[in-house]
């Protein structure tokens, strides 16, 4: 990639024999918002710390604007970093905190004052400069931390679960604000989170981390609609997974037999005939109907019995027991297909082949 602002080439980190990061390669284009999404211990924060220079990689290269970063100490990298618990200096006021990186760059005092005032008002804290961190709320502290990491206009901003300590409502508000700042200032951002909704909402692209590796990287719709591994399908959103064996492969689709069902699904990767796979279907892509009624044709149709019915306001959630399998279905209330079913009702669950993906089963044999 030519216009990549940051590039990681098979970056590895082992701690006394234990592999934390196992060959990460990823490139960030200028102005892109990339999320590292994964469970704790998946290596995303370690990768971020290696980019910032706080952790030394065991192997691999990190390049910023084509220049190798490895030989530079963290204080010469000029990369903004927003820490999980803000890490504001407790003995300095908000303005002093924000001025700190500018002082380190020996910028004249008058200009420092101007820039601090400008960035504080950008994050909506124009009148809070003289407060100490302990006199600010969590959300305000997070804004100061953001201002401090942006004020020296770094080419790259790293954020390590910056909203993790905030309550839900404030977190959602800050997500929007960060997104707006990103758009307004065209910053290149790497954002670490374990919250899949947050990643889906904020990112241009998401890299899903698992066991020190990137399982899949793509745009949010890409990952949601076309997960390539079982882990991604499971981690992002809710998914029904049907185990089975591929009977036939043709034109990007395949036929899968398993558990007495015969399913048609998109080929999620290089799936071959005879392979053990999972068929993944999102609960909101499946439809419920009365098995007696004729409805528009779908490639997949499973007959079962409603074993759980929950009303969620905007939608209804059902669990349908069909043979040995359980299928979760979410129906939008008020949609054309919405019918209320109760526990015990016989139903048909239907979904289109294009709304489901066959995913290779290698994790199953590997770990669980």
């Amino acid at each position: 990639m030519i216009d990549a602002i940051l590039e990681l080439r098979s970056v590895r980190k082992t701690y006394s024999g234990v592999t934390a990061v196992d060959g990460i390669s990823v490139a960030l284009s200028s102005g892109e918002f990339l999320s590292f999404l994964g469970p704790s211990g998946s290596g995303k924060t370690t990768t971020l710390a290696m980019i910032a220079g706080l952790v030394e990689p065991t192997g691999g290269d990190i390049l910023l604007k084509g220049q190798p970063l490895n030989p530079l100490p963290p204080y010469q990298r000029n990369i903004g970093f927003v820490f999980q618990n803000y890490a504001l200096f407790p003995h300095m006021t908000a303005a002093k905190n924000v001025a700190f990186p500018l002082e380190m760059r020996r910028i004249p005092r008058a200009e420092i004052e101007q820039r601090v005032a400008r960035v504080l008002s950008l994050v909506g804290l124009a009148t809070y400069g003289s407060r100490l961190p302990s006199q600010l709320s969590g959300g305000q502290q997070q804004r100061v931390a953001l201002a401090r990491a942006m004020v020296f206009e770094p080419p790259l901003l790293l954020m390590d679960e910056p909203l993790g300590a905030l309550d839900k409502k404030l977190r959602e508000q800050m997500q929007l604000e960060i997104k707006q700042l990103h758009r307004k200032l065209a910053m290149s951002i790497i954002y670490v989170t374990h919250d899949q909704e947050e990643a889906l909402m904020m990112s241009d692209r998401i890299a899903v981390f698992n066991n020190g590796r990137i399982e899949q990287i793509g745009t949010p719709p890409d990952l949601y609609e076309h997960p390539q591994t079982r882990f991604v399908a499971d981690f992002i959103g809710e998914t029904n997974l049907f185990p089975g064996t591929v009977a036939e492969v043709a034109e990007g689709y395949c036929k899968v037999n398993g558990g007495g069902l015969e399913l048609r699904a998109r080929n999620g990767g290089s799936i071959k005939s005879g392979q053990k796979v999972f068929v993944a279907v999102r609960p909101e892509r499946a439809m419920l109907c009365d098995p007696g009624k004729t409805a528009e044709p779908c490639e997949n149709r499973v007959i079962g019995e409603v074993s759980e019915a929950v009303y969620l306001g905007r939608s209804r959630k059902y669990v349908v027991r069909a043979g040995g399998a359980e299928v979760t279905v979410v129906q939008q209330i008020g949609s054309r297909l919405d019918t209320a079913f109760s526990i015990g009702d016989a139903v048909a669950v239907r979904w289109k082949a294009e709304d489901s993906t066959a995913i290779s089963d290698f994790e199953l044999s590997g770990i669980t």
């Binding site: 910032a52 220079g53 706080l54 100490p73 963290p74 204080y75 010469q76 990298r77 000029n78 990369i79 903004g80 970093f81 820490f83 999980q84 618990n85 890490a87 504001l88 200096f89 407790p90 003995h91 700190f100 990186p101 380190m104 760059r105 100490l132 961190p133 302990s134 401090r148 990491a149 020296f152």
Partner: protein, 273 residues
């Protein structure tokens, strides 16, 4: 399970009684010494027949006492400073450094608190005899530094635990080289711990007798040694006057420490976790 208010009052009464008795037990002897120091009698007796300042006059008129007080100050001030600097450096290394054998190093540094003082005293005396340090100011400073460093190490370690390592990481990513990180971020945050370490070190050095007894000479002796030899001779209330001065000094230092601590809590230096 709420205990009835009657048992609650009863327990409270018992707690208060025990606390008051304990405080009397601890403080009364010191107060008696203070009172005796103002006695008009020629020997230690309580209660004194009437009050007078004669023992303070005698104390400040006697060159042996004056010299030993001066010697004590000459020892205490440099000891406190040296112990603070060395103890802080050790604490920083132990808390942040990536060095092997941390536990062993900590153990050795803390040993002077655990090892019986008489053993340390004998060892220092033996070593100083070959180095000709017995009865000298540098010898005293060295010996007292060994005894007081552990206190500085533990107070600074405690305050370093309150300094999130992420502050240092944040400062690094913001462009501060390690030395700047230390004096702009770490030092201001651990300063209260360093100062209380300094005060502890000074009180302990001022109060130290056993080691001082071994390494002092007739011409250079701190005030504790002077008191000791005075007690062995004819006892008069001068000793009570000196005791009162020592008591006052410790009290002042502790008050200072408490004031600093309070200032530390209302200012942002301490209390951030």
């Amino acid at each position: 399970m709420r205990p009835s208010s009657r048992t609650e009052t009863w327990w409270r009464g018992l707690r208060i009684t025990i606390t008051v008795l304990l405080v009397i037990f601890l403080v009364a002897p010191m107060l008696i010494v203070v009172v005796i120091s103002f006695s008009s009698a020629q020997f230690l007796m309580f209660p004194p027949p009437s009050l007078s300042m004669q023992w303070y006059h005698k104390l400040f008129g006697d060159p042996a006492w004056i010299d030993s007080l001066i010697a004590s100050i000459e020892i205490v001030v440099p000891t406190g400073i040296v112990a603070m600097v060395l103890g802080t450096a050790a604490a920083l290394g132990l808390a942040r450094g990536d060095i092997p054998g941390k536990r062993i190093i900590t153990g050795v540094l803390m040993a002077p608190i655990v090892v019986p003082v008489i053993i340390i005293a004998a060892a220092i005396f033996g070593a100083f005899r070959t180095w000709n340090l017995n009865g000298t100011l540098p010898g005293f400073i060295l010996a007292h530094t060994v005894l007081t460093v552990p206190y500085v190490v533990s107070t600074v370690l405690a305050s370093l635990q309150m300094v999130d390592e992420r502050y240092e990481h944040a400062a690094l990513t913001l462009g501060a080289p390690p030395w700047t990180v230390f004096h702009r971020i770490v030092l201001p945050l651990i300063l209260p711990g360093m100062l209380s370490g300094l005060l502890f070190a000074m009180v302990i050095s001022f109060d130290e007798l056993v080691v001082s007894l071994f390494i002092s000479s007739p011409t250079f002796r701190p005030v504790t040694v002077q008191m000791w030899s005075d007690v062995l001779g004819d006892v008069d209330p001068t000793i009570a006057a000196v005791g009162t001065l020592l008591f006052l000094f410790s009290l002042l230092v502790l008050l200072l420490e408490a004031v600093m601590r309070r200032a530390g809590i209302t200012s942002p230096l301490v209390g951030q976790s």
